[in-house]
Amino acid sequence: MNLSLQNSTIPTLDATAQIAASARSATKVYGDGDTRVTALDHVDVAFEASRFTAIMGPSGSGKSTLMHCMAGLDRLSEGSVFIGSTDITATSEKELTTLRRERLGFIFQAFNLIPTLSAVENITLPSDLAGNRVESAWLEHVVATVGLADRIDHRPNELSGGQQQRVAVARALAGRPELIFADEPTGNLDSRTGAEILEFMRQAVREFGQSIVMVTHDPVAASYADRVVFLADGRVVDELIDPTPDNVLDRMRNLGD
């Protein structure tokens, strides 16, 4: 490997920045014996608050596993995960549910919305489940930001793919979570619609101070982030600050070497 990391313990953008989530020595092993696969191999990583961070890497690099473990959806075999300063490594399933509900937001590649609920009902779903109300001014602001004001009462199947994903972004933003995890949010969209979604996400970080961690393998998508963390074979192998599609692509090309 010809990469040289300046800081190989916990790579951060800014030592004084607040940390939204971090992993220490995160290791995830699947299976046993011959089928044993190490998805994450002692990963140390931190994601700053109010920043847009992208995790990149080829298929099988462990980027999705890292995200699942950091979001409390899957458990580490070894190491620990923090959301803010909370260690969630050994938290009960019930507490994780509360954590997801109150402190985290999610955006996915597909099947993002409950088909039987209207757009606005999908947006307020997490708060409703928690028994909270979304402040109406904030809801309007979010809805307006993603440009859905006139489609708010439509069902998901009456919306285009891009519109559905905008609903998903709005849902993630509506509860003002500490951190939003996005898993290939533009994977199913054409490039123009994808760009719109990414622009909304970036806007949310700039305007609302939202923290977002996005898993992607698209260099263009990654270039919308403030920082890109590269994973290969379950390890953090590189990072890039203020990326452009070109230099992301460049780094990606070098990952396999």
Partner: protein, 842 residues
């Protein structure tokens, strides 16, 4: 929010759930119809009861005790009239039910299977009799009156003469008048006649009155118990009942009948419920499995397991509520349908008020909602445990069976079942106790089989594979698919299994009973003809036997005169026949001793000899029913107890010597040796003409009729169970439809690599046939097992050895499998029509 989701989900899946609901709707309908019919009949009969006893303050009856010959005469009436406080007293007699039957102007009998035909002695004592003469005259000798409803229905006209069949033969009687029963002639379809009191004995074959109705002065009525005691004191060996007691007694008789109807309907509701539980559970499991990603998503955005479960249970509750709401009017419909069905079968059902009690509605709701919630409990619990990560996985996530719990439950249930069966068979209690134990055991074993059945899918499907693997790739895939989701296959099949288990058990028991009956008749009946009273069950006058004996065309003749006697302080049933004729007419399989002295001996049944250690030569002091005593020496023991149900058999000489009065319950005879066939035919015609209540048949005709009766019972049962099978088939169709949509991608793939539409359709149909055949095989196997237990529990004279109607059983399995193919028609068509590209893309 969860509530909102629940409602939206219900709406989105409404078609799916509509099918599921069907079973619950049916079950609720049957529960409701049982109560509606029961309550309605009870109210109607309650009104009737009041009509019957109106005006009668006390009723005097002969004491119903052994040794008392029950009859009252004019002297008794006079004695009652002489009692202080008695205003009036009238003796009444009622002919045995259905023994008096008029021939209608159309020349036909009124069907005997419907409401009863009743004949009474006429009394116009006002206030006593429930009858009021509304037209014509009271009956003189040779005349009768009939209720105006029956007269209208059949066209009887005052002044015309009609043939009336009675226990004593044919009589020509002139209709002298029409009566009204009670206040509005609500006879519930019964035909009510009355004859002149002075000839009732001659017409009905009765002896004296069977009751005396008494009217009291107001002051005597105020102290009814003292009045009853006074009246009772004036006579010997009588009981005196007050109006309240008679009313209760009459109502209790009606209620017993109503309870039977109600139990049958509730029993069927139970079967529908049981079947529905499986179908609802399955539908929920599949619908929720399809929603796994959606539920994962909900978990992801913060719903906890309880919220998901509440949501799904809410759906179940709403479905149950809807099913109950449809089931309540449905039940009234079923009640009306049953009434119409009975009418169509010629069994005129009484008109009844429709009574919808609050209790009925509450029970309907409890049943509908309760069953749905119970069925949805497990699938819901499992589904709510879905991890949030499920939302991010692609493809349908298959859930593993909790097989260990199932195995433990199965073993526990099997142990309980086996214990109950063992206790039931070895316990040696009464037949009822035995059947109860066996029923509990059977239910436990049924539960065990249901719990373990997913494990049986593999081996049984492999066995079917021998056939299906030959049907090419669609057949092979069908078998694999059925095996892949063994739990689902087993649960879907369970519904069918219940239905077939019940049917095949009934078939096995019926066949065993028929076999026993057939062998008993074959081996023991040598008589050419049997004469039985199939109408009124009142038997024949003893003179019939004398007439038959006198007929030169006929040979050996014996009647069977059933009565009771007291032996060792115990009242036992006894029958008297001719020891002379008996050996040539029947082979009673007398294994020890033989016929002894006609006047002082008896032969006893094998079961009595074994149970009470009665041996040849034992002498018993017997008191006959008229109080006469006779010493009876046991001269023989007979083993063939299928025809003679009584434990004691004596010669008619015993009765004749003691002066016992008993009619001939049934009669057997043969043609005289070498008699002319036309003479025999003429003799038979004469008997049929003289005794219209009699059914004269050969032994094989008798056997056919008995088998017909058994088949009739079976067919009613089968018709009811057929409905359960239909519900089960809907369940199969439902499951397959869900499986098809679940496997959209897979089917698309099969199509993409070259499977034809037809191939896809065949694959789905075969899978359905595999599920149906699996349920049928398990059901039939269990049914035969339960049948065997029933045969063990029944007395040997009823069913001795297990007989399996293999033809019918195989037909049953084939029909179920073919029905399985039919159930798959729609899902298969849908699968075949799928657009390949869409299917793969989904």
């Amino acid at each position: 929010m969860i509530a909102k989701l629940t409602i939206r989900n219900l709406r989105a899946n409404s078609g799916r759930f509509a099918m599921t609901t069907f079973g619950v709707v049916l079950a609720v309908s049957f529960v409701v119809s049982a109560f509606v019919l029961g309550d309605g009949l009870r109210r109607t009969f309650g009104d009737l009861t009041t009509d019957i006893v109106a005006g009668t303050d006390l009723e005097v009856r002969p004491l119903d005790e052994f040794g008392i010959i029950g009859s009252l005469d004019d002297d008794d009436v006079a004695a009652v009239l002489a009692v202080d406080g008695v205003v009036d007293a009238v003796g009444f007699v009622e002919a045995p039910e259905n023994s008096v039957r008029p021939i209608t102007p159309a020349g036909e009998e009124i069907p005997g299977a419907g409401p009863p035909q009743l004949a009474f002695s006429w009394s116009d004592a006002p206030g006593f009799s429930p009858f009021t003469l509304i037209e014509g005259e009271a009956p003189e000798l040779g005349e009768f009156v009939i209720d105006f409803g029956s007269a209208d229905r059949h066209g009887f006209e005052i002044g015309d003469a009609y043939t009336v069949l009675t226990g004593t033969g044919r009589h020509e009687l002139t209709l002298s008048g029409l009566t009204r029963f009670g206040s509005d002639n609500q006879t519930l379809g019964a035909t009510l006649m009355a004859m002149n009191a002075n000839e009732t004995d001659a017409l009905f074959g009765t002896m004296g009155f069977d009751s005396i109705a008494v009217a009291l002065t107001d002051s005597a009525r105020a102290d009814i118990d003292s009045a009853a005691a006074l009246v009772g004191g004036a006579l010997t060996d009588v009981e005196v009942l007050t109006q309240a007691t008679i009313e209760e007694e009459t109502a209790a008789e009606f209620n017993t009948q109503i309870d039977i109807i109600q139990s049958i309907l509730l029993g069927f509701a139970g079967v529908s419920l049981l079947v529905s539980i499986f179908i609802i559970g399955n539908t929920f499991a599949i619908v929720l499995a399809q929603r796994t990603r959606e539920m994962g998503l909900l978990r992801l955005v913060g719903a906890d397991a309880n919220q998901l479960r509440r949501g799904a249970m809410g759906e179940a509750g709403a479905i149950g509520l809807l099913a109950s709401a449809i089931g309540i009017p449905g039940g009234i419909g079923v009640a009306a349908g049953l009434t119409a069905l009975f009418d169509a079968l010629g069994l005129t059902f009484p008109d009844y008020d429709i009574v919808i009690a609050t209790r009925t509605i509450l029970v309907a709701l409890a049943v509908g909602v309760g069953v749905t919630l119970i069925s949805a409990w497990w699938p819901t619990r499992n589904a709510a445990r879905v991890p949030a990560l499920a939302a991010l996985r692609t493809g349908a996530a298959g859930r593993s069976e909790t097989s260990r719990t199932r195995t433990i439950v199965a073993i526990a249930l099997a142990a309980i079942g086996a214990a109950c069966v063992a206790v039931g068979i070895a316990g040696g209690g009464s037949t009822t106790a035995m059947i109860t134990m066996l029923a509990i055991g059977a239910i436990a074993i049924f539960g065990a089989v249901t719990a373990i059945s997913p494990r049986l899918v593999g081996p049984i499907a492999s066995a079917f594979g021998l056939v299906f693997e030959r049907l090419g790739m669609p057949g092979r895939l069908a078998i694999r698919n059925a095996r892949r989701q063994a739990g689902r296959t087993a649960t879907t099949a369970a519904a069918l299994m219940i239905g077939l288990a019940v049917v095949s058990m009934a078939l096995v028991v019926g066949e065993s009973v028929k076999t026993e009956l057939g062998s008993a008749l074959d081996e023991s009946v040598m008589a050419d003809y049997l004469l039985t009273d199939q109408v009124a069950d009142a038997g024949f006058p003893t003179s019939v036997v004398e007439e038959l004996e006198a007929d030169p065309a006929l040979g050996a003749v014996t009647g069977f005169r059933n009565s009771q006697m007291q032996v060792d302080d115990e009242v036992v049933d006894v029958t008297a026949a001719s020891f002379d004729a008996l050996p040539t007419l029947f082979d009673l399989d007398i294994s020890e001793g033989g016929f002894g002295d006609p006047t002082s001996s008896a032969i006893v049944s094998r079961s009595l000899a074994d149970e009470d250690s009665v041996a040849i030569g034992d002498v018993f002091a017997a008191t006959l029913n008229n109080g006469a005593t006779v010493d009876l020496a046991v001269s023989g023991i007979f083993d063939e107890d299928s025809l003679i149900a009584e434990d004691w058999l004596v010669d008619v000489a015993v009765y004749n010597t003691a002066g016992v009065v008993a009619s001939e319950t049934w009669i057997a005879f043969s043609a005289a040796a070498g008699a002319d066939a036309t003479a025999v035919a003429a003799a038979i015609d004469r008997i049929e003409e003289r005794y219209p209540q009699g059914e004269l048949e050969t032994a094989s005709e008798f056997q056919e009729r008995m088998e017909g009766l058994i088949d009739q019972i079976l067919s009613v049962l089968n018709a009811l169970v057929a409905l359960a099978v239909v519900i089960a088939l809907i369940g199969i169709a439902n499951t397959l439809a869900l499986s098809v949509s679940e496997r959209t991608r897979e089917i698309g793939l099969a199509r993409a690599v070259g499977m034809s539409r037809r191939g896809v359709r065949r694959m789905i149909r075969y899978e359905s046939a595999v599920i149906a055949a699996f349920g049928a095989v398990l059901g039939v196997a269990m049914g035969i097992g339960f049948g065997w237990l029933m045969v063990e529990a029944l007395p040997a004279s009823f069913a001795d050895a297990l007989a399996i109607p293999s033809g019918q059983i195989i037909t049953l399995v084939v029909i179920a499998s073919v029905a399985g193919l039919l159930a798959a028609l729609l899902p298969a068509r849908r699968a075949g029509r799928m657009n390949v590209l869409d299917a793969i893309a989904s």
